[in-house]
Amino acid sequence: MRSFRDAFGEELVRIGESKPDLVVLDVDVSTSTRTRMFATRFPRRFIQLGISEQDAVSTAAGLAVAGKIPVLAGFAMFLMRAWEQIRNTISRDNLNVKIAGTHSGFSDHVDGSSHQCLEDIALMRVLPNFTVVCPADAQATRCLLSQVVERTGPCYLRLGRDNASSIYDQEKLELGKASILADGSDVSLISCGPTLGICLEAVEELRSKGFSCLVLDLHTIKPLDDHSIVQAADTNGIVVVEEHRVQGGLGSAVAEVVSERKPARIVRIGVRDGFGTCSRRYEDLLSLHGITKESIIRAVEALMR
């Protein structure tokens, strides 16, 4: 399966079987987020709020203090309009609410710039108490979702749409601990989400050019695995790749750790400025914004020069 949302929808149902307190909130996008599967299986534990993201977040707060485990799923972009509610209630009161932002990055390529969320990592990783997770593929989505449901406290799960790579097979990922996808000593590549697939493609080609690269899946953006980042800084430099703005995103998070703990050169690959556009092909948007295998190879070669 190469779909984040299918994996998310299926896993929610699976978790729901053994967790009677799990409830799912929708803002009239359940067909898109795949929470429709949960609604069909557990209609009494599915709450439709209509197109009302702010209402949905505060309603989730009420459900959480009443002992439920609310999972609110919606398009990442439109959940961000309720950032203040998330900040002032879910984060401040440290509530056990899970927020899943689907269609993040350029994954909603057809709908264009209004729907393409390039800012959610920046907005969510600054919130106290929050765990912020961005799985690389379907298997990681299933594995990390079940872990964030087990962990009491607020969580933001950043998901794409159907743009998942195939990174993991049956491996278990550990929340809060970066996964090493390739070992190497020349340059470190750090990424999260679907761009890890591009990193692995680049690593193949770099290997044939004689470069060995460490590849880290930093799926947990908060709390950050500082230890793994510091180790990555032992190479000749770090290239961070993300389907997000370079300002405030994963690259910034890595740079914060590296500059304080072990200064090293960092190249950030991501959206530099401006907005997306609609595109018939997802990959075309990545190319337009320089999130490509070629950019990574160039960055690694520059660091090795």
Binding site: R45, Q54, D55, T59, G62, A64, V65, N88, R92
Partner: protein, 232 residues
């Protein structure tokens, strides 16, 4: 409102910066009445969080917070922040940012209905915060799920931060608005305690969510006159 209670609200308000005495006075009797009639399992949410002095005065009267705590109110180490925070007795969710309490009430009410638990949620709204769109998103949710365990109470004091409510943004016809959203509005002129008890019965009978509208326009002016005159 008796002079002792009025004095307490004012004293707490002074410790919290004194910016919202007007808003605290207009809902003090309402909050007091809710805490008198509520069952142990019921929840009170002060959506208009800036009226915290009134809430703290009620909690003090009930013996849930003591004089020593009131003395420290508004300091960094005190639970009694200028706007109510979770962890304070009687405060299930923090407020301070306006327009969000009704959604929270709905969440608690939905959970109670799912679990078959008898629990009423009283949510006190300011008339000014009705400017927030989220209130009306939430009002539609309450009606959609027929949450008759939510009792909303609007403190219609006619004022918001920078002027009379009708000059800032129109609020009327207020009962008509709630009615159009599927609620049962009740214009209140009697004692808050009686009105709230009646509303509880009404909600059970009709199965619809009920909103009480307390028009306190003159009440708080009279209270303020008493305050400034030095009667208290």
């Amino acid at each position: 409102m008796d002079d002792d209670f009025l004095r307490t609200v004012r004293r707490i308000s002074d410790k919290l910066g004194g910016n919202h005495i007007y808003s605290s006075l207009s809902c003090a009797d309402i909050l007091r009445a809710i805490f008198h009639v509520k069952d142990k399992n019921d929840v009170v949410l002060l959506s208009k969080g800036h009226a915290a002095p009134a809430l703290y005065a009620v909690l003090m009267e009930m013996g849930l917070i003591d004089e020593e705590e009131i003395e420290k109110a508004g300091t960094p180490s005190s639970r009694l922040q200028t706007h109510p925070e979770r962890g304070t007795p009687g405060v299930l969710l923090s407020s301070g940012s306006l327009g969000q309490g009704l959604s929270m009430a709905n969440g608690i009410a939905l959970a109670a209905k799912m679990d078959g638990v008898r629990r009423r949620i009283f949510v006190v709204l300011g008339d000014g915060e009705l400017d927030e769109g989220q209130i009306w998103e939430a009002a539609a949710t309450t009606a959609t799920y027929e949450l008759n365990n939510v009792i909303a109470i609007v403190d219609r004091n006619g004022r918001q931060l920078t002027g009379p409510t009708h000059e800032i943004k129109i609020k009327e016809p207020l009962a008509g608005r709630w009615s159009a959203f599927g609620w049962r509005p009740v214009e209140c002129s009697g004692s808050p305690e009686e009105e709230i008890l009646r509303a509880i019965d009404l909600a059970e009978e009709t199965g619809r969510p009920t909103v009480l509208i307390f028009r306190a326009v003159n009440v708080h002016e009279e209270l303020q006159r008493r305050l400034w005159r030095g009667a208290c």
